[in-house]
Symmetry: C2
Subunit: 364 residues, 2 copies
């Protein structure tokens, strides 16, 4: 199977092999060394000198951690949503009592920083801005540097970033751009299996934590911080995923992050060019298209679910369909992590062979 | 290394090998089949026909899930605490706004059901009872059937059980005893690596969920339930741990749970007899000593931390020290999962050789 969903991703043999290493005591010296090294390497990839915590859970757990560790019930926040994961970020904040204003953008489009500027100008009581860096559900990447320039540079708000499908694949300069909290998860560009989530906190976010009153226990970074000083996790972690992540981080840093970013930019361009050459429309504009996941609009008259199902059953290519209201309207090709050109060519070939079966005639 | 902590535990080769299987799409048909089978098998081991959810996280996440899915801020609850994990259960409930009365018992002792009866008689406003089945921090197992007999049989309260280190090792008849919510975690008697937590809910707990108003998102079982109907997890799960758990569940059920329980009872007895024959005092009374973890009192004048450290460095035996106020006062030998007699004999031999080094002279 050519697994080309936007996470989990196919993994290298040496990373998968680390998953089978024997268990160790997570309160012993081997784990302390592992945790220390992984934490340092995560900071390097996040490009931050802030705090870094590893949480056993999915990316959604890290999004919830971003919210509950820095906000209090009643806090006014702006959520910038360009898709399902943006909506989720705002929903979490609302459930835990924040007073959320959501700026929604048409699916397939990116955040317009001017609308954020307008909102922050009109309402000085806003405390925090929530934003998705790379929206996996629509294949759109936001201009996070520009958004941070407004939220932090112009208005000095607390900035919480869902970097789940961007960090380790796309440039995200946590400290330089002023991202106070950034969340990510192991099964994305990190090239590890799912099971671990990561959270970075700036000094400003640490101060916000001290005053934040949303209820939290499992996700409270105070516990992670106090145990980290003893080289321990507060709760039993997904030890095997830590083993694999450690190997994967070594490979990422050996390659160098700038090379990793270039590689993603190239594979993104190649995927989009291939899709266009098949006569298929990209879902987002090229200028905002993500380099970790390509969303393709299902042409009029084509059954998108059947296309994805045929690709899997007959060609061994596993793509993701659309989520929620985009179900059947788009399909998505993941190319985060170590994705070779021939793996994308295989997807393009499979599409070329399968499209006629679902009644798609390539436009002349 | 002979890893004898109370979780994680040493794992069989076939279970570890499953951890290295290639990634699959957690929204595809292979995962749906896996999730369905694992859910059914978990119910069989929990001995329940209620609902069952698999959450990516540690056992503490499942404890938090038990609380936030069934309670509202202001609810009166009684927490029965016989150690660190009992304290944690009450702390979680308090943080999320419950009005918690804690009945604490001396470390090393079990819950006295009479004290619960007395409390429930005096305060009819109490809605729920929280209890640890097997307290890993003190090596004590509660008489959960008797406690449930009071909480449910006599007073018909909602009963939330931390079964993290008991389910799959010690008999816990979820439905027969009336346990409304039971939490467990993969790295204990389940014989899988850490990373997954499990939560069972009775029909009564499902009704409580509908009215419960504590904030929850990542741990909200409503999402797990609605996705489960489509054969999916709501958030990206620790797929590799699911692979391993599936293999481990097959082995548990092939052996038969009554045999698994007998095996734990035998290894528990053997461990305690061996400890006594070394002249070491058990921390709890024999009658309430756990069959998954044996807590040993560090004799007067012996440096408990040094003993644990020497056992590891010189004999390759990894034990757990005491937690919080029990640090240095006890050490703990884990024997959950598939623990062979010679693995315990190895611990006893290592102790016999090491004890003189820390100044312990066996009493005549």
């Amino acid at each position: 199977m050519n697994l080309r969903t936007p996470g989990p991703i196919p993994l290298a043999d040496d990373i998968l092999e680390a998953m089978s290493w024997p268990m160790i005591n997570h309160r012993g010296p081997e784990y302390a060394e592992l945790l220390d090294r992984v934490t340092d390497r995560l900071k390097e990839v996040f490009d931050t000198r802030g705090s870094m915590y590893v949480i056993t859970g999915s990316g959604t757990a890290a999004m919830e951690a971003a919210v509950v560790n820095t906000l209090s019930p009643g806090d006014r926040v702006v959520n910038l949503s360009i898709g399902a994961f943006g909506d989720r970020f705002g929903e979490i904040a609302g459930i835990f009592g924040a007073d959320v204003t959501t700026l929604s953008f048409t699916p397939g489009e990116a955040v317009d920083p001017d609308r954020l500027r307008q909102t922050l100008t009109q309402d000085p009581s806003i405390k925090a801005v929530l934003v998705t860096h790379n929206e996996t559900s629509t294949g759109v990447v936001n201009d996070l540097e520009a958004i941070a320039g407004v939220a932090k540079g112009e208005f000095d708000k607390l900035l919480l970033v869902d970097g789940i499908s961007s960090v380790a694949s796309l440039p995200l300069r946590t400290d330089a751009w002023g991202c106070d909290v950034v969340a990510s998860a192991s099964q994305k560009g990190w090239m590890a299996p799912p099971g671990l989530a990561f959270l970075s906190l700036s000094e400003r976010a640490r101060r916000a934590h001290a005053e934040a009153r949303m209820p939290r226990f499992y996700l409270d970074v105070a516990q992670y911080e106090s145990y980290l000083r003893r080289g321990q996790p507060p709760y039993t972690p997904a030890i095997s995923v830590m083993f694999a992540l450690d190997v994967a981080l070594g490979k990422l840093l050996d390659e160098g992050m700038e090379s990793v970013y270039r590689r993603h930019a190239e594979i993104g361009r190649m995927t989009r060019a291939g899709i266009r050459s098949l006569g298929l429309p990209l879902f987002p504009e090229e200028s905002v298209a993500s380099d970790t996941v390509t969303a393709v609009a299902v042409p009029e008259g084509v059954d998108g679910a059947r296309l994805v199902s045929l690709l899997r059953a007959e060609r061994g290519v596993v793509l993701a369909g659309g989520q929620a209201e985009l179900a059947g309207k788009i399909f998505r090709i993941g190319h985060m992590g170590h994705c070779a050109e021939d793996e994308i060519q295989d997807v393009l070939d499979a599409l070329e062979q399968t499209l006629p079966q679902v009644g798609f005639a390539r436009p002349l």
